[in-house]
Symmetry: C2
Subunit: 325 residues, 2 copies
Amino acid sequence: MPRVTSADIARAAGVSRTTVSYVLNDTPGVSVSGATRERVRAVADRLGYAPSAAARALRRGRSDLVVAVLPDWPVGPVVDDLLDHLTDVLASRGLFVLVHHHRDSRDLADLWRAVSPLAVVGLAPFTPADASAMTRAGIQVVGSVEPGGEPGTGDFDASQRGIGALQARHLAGAGHPRLAYATTDDPRLGRFAAARLAGFREACATLGLPSPRPVAVPVGVPATAAVRAWSGAGVTAVAAYNDDVALAVLAGAREAGLAVPSALAVVGVDDSPAARVAAPPLTTVAQPVDRQAEHLAAEVLAALDGRDTPPWPSDGARVVVRGSA
Amino acid sequence: MPRVTSADIARAAGVSRTTVSYVLNDTPGVSVSGATRERVRAVADRLGYAPSAAARALRRGRSDLVVAVLPDWPVGPVVDDLLDHLTDVLASRGLFVLVHHHRDSRDLADLWRAVSPLAVVGLAPFTPADASAMTRAGIQVVGSVEPGGEPGTGDFDASQRGIGALQARHLAGAGHPRLAYATTDDPRLGRFAAARLAGFREACATLGLPSPRPVAVPVGVPATAAVRAWSGAGVTAVAAYNDDVALAVLAGAREAGLAVPSALAVVGVDDSPAARVAAPPLTTVAQPVDRQAEHLAAEVLAALDGRDTPPWPSDGARVVVRGSA
DNA sequence: CTGAAAGCGCTTACAG
DNA sequence: CTGAAAGCGCTTACAG
């Protein structure tokens, strides 16, 4: 069966397509008699009419879509929250958020052949090439772009580094002279983990502490060997890439018979539910997801309205002190 | 600046729009001279041409989009994996998967005004109304539909119930005569949690055990009171909605001074990294995400090709026995 | 081997 | 208050 179009509605309702459009879109400033309105709606309903998104977008010259591009690594619970929030905020402007899991190796350009979003939100920095291609295609780009393709710059990386620095300062503030860093063994997390580590090491340097080499700790298995090695090297505190890694360190300490936090202090990132009920409860870094989401939404709205983008919320992450450090 | 169109390319390259389309789409069966091909591509590149997805879709009568609709509740780590996988598999057919976090209250119909997917994958059952509206709009619907709007039927619910049943059988098999069920306190999880609970209670009945009333256990805080109540009522084993809830029960047992599993056995769902390194390591139910994703992809492909949909993988979830039960 | 033309389904000035 | 017509940008039969 062929698709039901607005012409079908018009014919069946005995009006023009113009009127159908006016009624179905509640176009302001036009007056259509109540009876006609009702008839058009009834017919549309009866025929199961669904307007063509493609035709709408083509004619209007824009869509109501915002695409959020997720990076090539496991994002963790924080990002899901963030996307939910973003969806809610943009919904109030009639926009729909669609998320693309950018795991495959295809070029983003291919995606834009399939969908024309009004704006794109990057949860990880875009390459300059991707960013300029999108801009030229008339898509608003929100989220950071690596200037010159070099990591380590931009708001996004800055905020990640801030997290690492927070961990270092907390641990140093508790009097630990020798820190370790437990990073992830997931290769996809490369640059994300790198930013947190970099912030951690910079802070160590600033504090006059030795900058540790990172140790890769797989999640879901007790990091017993790593804990023993640290213990042997005089390390009394370790910062982890995230809570899952921190939990693996905690389990390693348990296996190795090291008391936490007296013999080994541990601090994670994410403030996950599991971290809150660990033994001992995990000290961790919490990111203000709500504020981040609101900021992202504000950036999208600003870009669409041609206003200047608001500055990043500065005082974002904070240490949640619990039992482990 | 106005959008660059294929007409601009044609003009600049001194060819017709037909030729531009042939070259840029690598249309098979047409022969365009190598020189022309090169020139067209060069011009398109120089001008930063990006074809209009809307026009393409309108003309072709279909898009290359598959929208996955996430339900109104926190999905957990399993679903992220599943979506990544689905994205990969469908990419090999030139399809793009876009995820919609269906948290807002808007009708799905509104979404279809903004985007016309080829198919929609529901990670939770669709209402019959939504399903039929999508079908009438020419969208292939994959994933279960509630027949008559009643929960509890369909492949999806069946598989969720299987999880609850698995927990009950495992606990009963270990000789526990009196079981408890710890459900989530998240109101959004309503029917999802309900399906697991229903499966659990049915299995209890079949096994001749009393069917417990569920107790809501918030995640991230030790469920000490709940544990004490169970203990006082002679309960020696509890099944949890998921690992986060199970971890909260574990923490409650710790606080209440109950040894796990000897005084209280606990079994979760998800096989999360945190569960694997808990103290004691959590016994849990693992779902075969890869197989589920492959099945979902197969369903989409079958729907698009007009073939019959393959049956659900039957032997899905399994208990991973660790230290807690 | 290449081009002129039709048409996908909508919205919106414009004319009555 | 309502309708005829143009045009968004593409692809693809069709004609040369």
